[in-house]
Amino acid sequence: MSKIGLWVITFVLLATTIAGCWSVHELDTLAIIMGTGLDKAEDPDKIRLVAQVAVPAELGGVPGEGGGGGAKATTLAITTGYTVRDAAQNLSRYFSRIAYWPDMQILVIGEEAAREGISPLLDFWNRQEQPFRSLWVMVAKGEAKDIFAAEDYLEKISAVGIAKLINESGQASLTRKSRLLDVTRDLASPGVSPVLTRIEAVDQAEGKKRIRVAGSAVFRGDRLTGWLDESATRGLLWITGEVQSGAIVVQCPDGEKRDVSLKIRRAKSQIIPEEKDGRIAIRVEIDVEGDLGDQTCPINLTTPEHWRSLERRQAAIIENESAAALRLAQEEFQTDIFGFGATIRRKFPREWEEMEQSWDEEGFPRLEVTINVTSKLRRPGLILQPNRSR
């Protein structure tokens, strides 16, 4: 055996025996945190942190025991601190294990804390070397602590349930999906205000608290200023082109009070800044395709005139919802949740420099916005006419 071979063996033996196992964490020394809530503490300088920690022994994996059972799969730990990091560090007073953050699913910010600004609350997560960028960030109606008290219908760990709920919310497009990356980017870019998912705990059957994800939280700078309800949220999503799927209910063209629902197939939008009479204005082109979802009126809707009338009605609803969201943002909240400023900055950088200072106060509320909707209906589905048509 050559000398080099001996050296390699010596090195490997030394390395494996003396070096110890630096940065080793065995799985059973970790407290896996699934979700975190941030609220204002009673002491006004402090933050209250609620951590939902998984109890692995209750999650199965050991044959014969665990899996099912009555015991809860999670437990809550509540600490306070001057900063998020301080509060997080304080967890070690309660837990015999090392707090393990990277698998955290959701970050819930309490309403009151959000009104005082979310930038200080997000700093910690962005600074960590572990990847948190895809974390769902949301604002709770009320206190974040109450969110974790509610149970999920199916998931043993409610944080996982909420994360899946938000992930699937594109089916109805009634809330804004906000990941940490999106929120951080919106906070950092001029001409956009962040909009976050809104979440609340509501009473449901059997006297249990359940989670509901609906509407959005509107920010001005990094402070919460108000809520968008579900239809205004969809108005926002029409303009920003984030609608994935969902249903639009319109009146039946036969004039009676019967409804037809249209299934959204595809929606995209284009925000075009342009000069109009010496001033900068915004034109929004929304392009929507839908299918016939179902109908309650007994007429044949697949005739060309009915079909076109349905397309017009679809366009009208989209226009109304967008206009309502726009009005709320311009008049009530005075904050550019659509990112119009950012598009202007890209197209008219010189003009933007003048407008930037007073964008939220003057520029945006007085901005002239035209919304054009192109609406198409594609497929009637497997049956052409209702079962008993005239």
Binding site: V12, D28, P56, G61, G64
Partner: protein, 526 residues
């Protein structure tokens, strides 16, 4: 080193022995020869010495020597003894004058055996009779006949148990050298298939057959194999495994650098690729050199099944290779260093399974690995009916009870079992057993440095493999150095009509295997 050399020299001096003056030439006198044969062969009960005399007046005396059990008795009786005793009279009623002429007469018109040679030393006589031939001495000659009468009880040609295949020839090598060379001859009916004999082993005098196809195999490789065989000076070479250790390039390497096979079709295909095969008396395993790593990933069946299926199978084997090497190490690294890499729900499950397990993950993996290897070994050594009991007790009861008792977590059992199964999916036992060493090495690295350790270890292993040579051929070829045309027979198996060239390093001096454009096509329209 010097110290050991000195010790070896003094020991060698003491044990030097010459087999009882056998190198002397034979005597003219029959009595002297008989006496010498008697003293050399001594009191061996399996030696038969039959004296006789021929000629009308029985004026020429002679005797024949053979080893009972090694000869085919019917040949000796019907083709040697009978003609000598009876037809000799008919040929020349007046009888033989003694001396050289008798000898010539007997050789030319009396002995009815195919293989007959004259020898002049006692050594050659002994080699002959100990190999199953019959020695015939006649009075007044300083030469003896060696008549080919080999024929002993042996196992028939059966299917190899080690290398199974669904399609392809069912025959496997046996312990009889002649049968084995005949199996190859039957496949390659070509005068250029050269079969050279060499004797290896001072005590055992084992015949080693060196086979190659002249014109395809490189002269240098043949020369080198011959040189390495001549170099061997040891007591016994009982199996090809022993011979491998004397001729391989990297004797300390965990990786095999000589290919072993029990299938004549495999060996024939290696010969046709320009490799050299070694067959050894008494062993059903043939060796072929030069050897590259990819050969161990290939089974002979790949060449008999459809190319696409063969390609998929090869990929499965490659995946198995990686899995069996890295699965335990990756598990240890992921569980102790990189929990972020595990999907959340799996992580929670695994955390649940590890709850209350008293050992760190490394130790768990090592313990399970050792238990698995013990089970495997016990299963091989046990008589077959008991072997099944071993697997039931080991696999079912031990595994189930250990996890139920919370001593080992379930994921580790899964990892150990998966590693074991993937090990068996690699077709060559030589390679798969050598991987166990690497696997343990990677587990240690994973436990100390995590993924970083595994990657570093894998790099070192790769560098090591690239540095290996087998009879001058780079071990990782055709992957490194890359030989484009040879890649058709690595992780993909191209159709036969597309493999135009023989492997570059072994058949490079005579590369064309077949005509271009042999692809089957519909007949051309008129």
């Amino acid at each position: 080193m010097k110290f050991w050399k000195r010790i070896w020299r003094s020991a060698a001096r003491k044990t030097k022995n010459d087999p009882a003056g056998g190198s002397q030439p034979l005597s003219k006198s029959l009595a002297v020869n008989l006496a010498r044969v008697r003293t050399i062969l001594g009191e061996n009960s399996d030696i038969d010495i039959r004296e006789f005399s021929i000629g009308k007046r029985q004026q020429v005396a002679g005797f024949l020597v053979l080893v009972d059990g090694l000869v085919d008795k019917s040949i000796v009786n019907d083709n040697i003894l009978q003609p000598l005793l009876t037809s000799a009279r008919l040929v020349e009623p007046d009888g033989f004058p003694p001396g050289k002429r008798v000898f010539q007469q007997v050789k030319e018109s009396i002995l009815a055996v195919g293989h007959l040679e004259e020898v002049y030393t006692m050594d050659e006589v002994l080699d002959g009779i100990l190999s199953g031939d019959t020695a015939i001495f006649l009075d007044g000659n300083e030469a003896a006949f060696i008549a080919g009468t080999r024929g002993w009880e042996s196992r028939g040609v059966q299917e190899s148990v080690v290398e199974m295949a669904v399609r392809g020839p069912r025959e496997g090598f046996t312990e009889t050298l002649r049968t084995n060379t005949s199996l190859l001859r039957r496949k390659i009916k070509n005068v250029n298939l050269r079969v050279e004999n060499m004797l290896v082993g001072k005590q055992t005098r084992t015949t080693v057959c060196l086979l190659y196809i002249k014109g395809i195999a490189g002269n240098k490789v043949v020369e080198e194999v011959r040189r390495r065989l001549e170099h061997i000076e040891t007591d016994a070479v009982l199996d090809s495994g022993v011979l491998v250790e004397f001729i391989e390039d990297a004797p300390f390497s965990p990786l095999p650098t000589v290919y072993l096979s029990e299938r004549p079709d495999t060996v024939a295909s290696k010969l046709l690729e320009g490799r050299v095969a070694l067959l050894i008396e008494g062993s059903p395993t043939a060796m072929t050199v030069p050897t590259v790593f990819m050969e161990f990933m290939i089974s002979s069946e790949d060449y008999y099944s459809r190319p696409i299926y063969a390609t998929i199978t090869r990929w499965l084997r490659a995946i198995s290779l990686l899995a069996t090497l890295f699965a335990p190490a990756l598990y240890v690294a992921a569980v102790t260093f990189h929990q972020e890499m595990i999907p959340v729900e799996l992580l929670l499950r695994m955390a649940g399974a590890r709850e209350g397990v008293p050992f760190p993950a490394v130790l768990e993996v090592l313990i399970m690995g050792i238990i698995f290897e013990i089970l495997r070994e016990a299963g091989i050594r046990m008589p077959r009916p008991i072997g099944q009991a071993v697997s039931i007790v080991g696999a079912l009861i031990l595994g189930e009870a250990a996890s139920r008792a919370g001593m080992v977590s379930n994921p580790v059992i899964i990892v150990a079992a998966f590693t074991g199964i993937t090990l068996f999916a690699i077709s060559s036992p030589e390679l798969s057993f050598s991987l166990v060493a690497f696997r343990v090495f990677f587990v240690f690295l994973a436990a100390t440095f995590g993924l970083f350790g595994i990657v570093t270890g894998a790099l070192f292993t790769l560098v090591y493999m690239v540095s290996l040579r087998s009879f001058g051929v780079p071990y990782l070829s055709p992957l490194a150095p890359i030989i484009l045309s040879d890649l058709k027979d690595t992780l993909i198996r191209a159709p036969w009509w597309a493999m135009l060239l023989r492997p570059h390093f072994t058949g490079g001096q005579n590369p064309a295997r077949q005509r271009f454009l042999l692809r089957p096509r519909p007949p051309a329209k008129k």
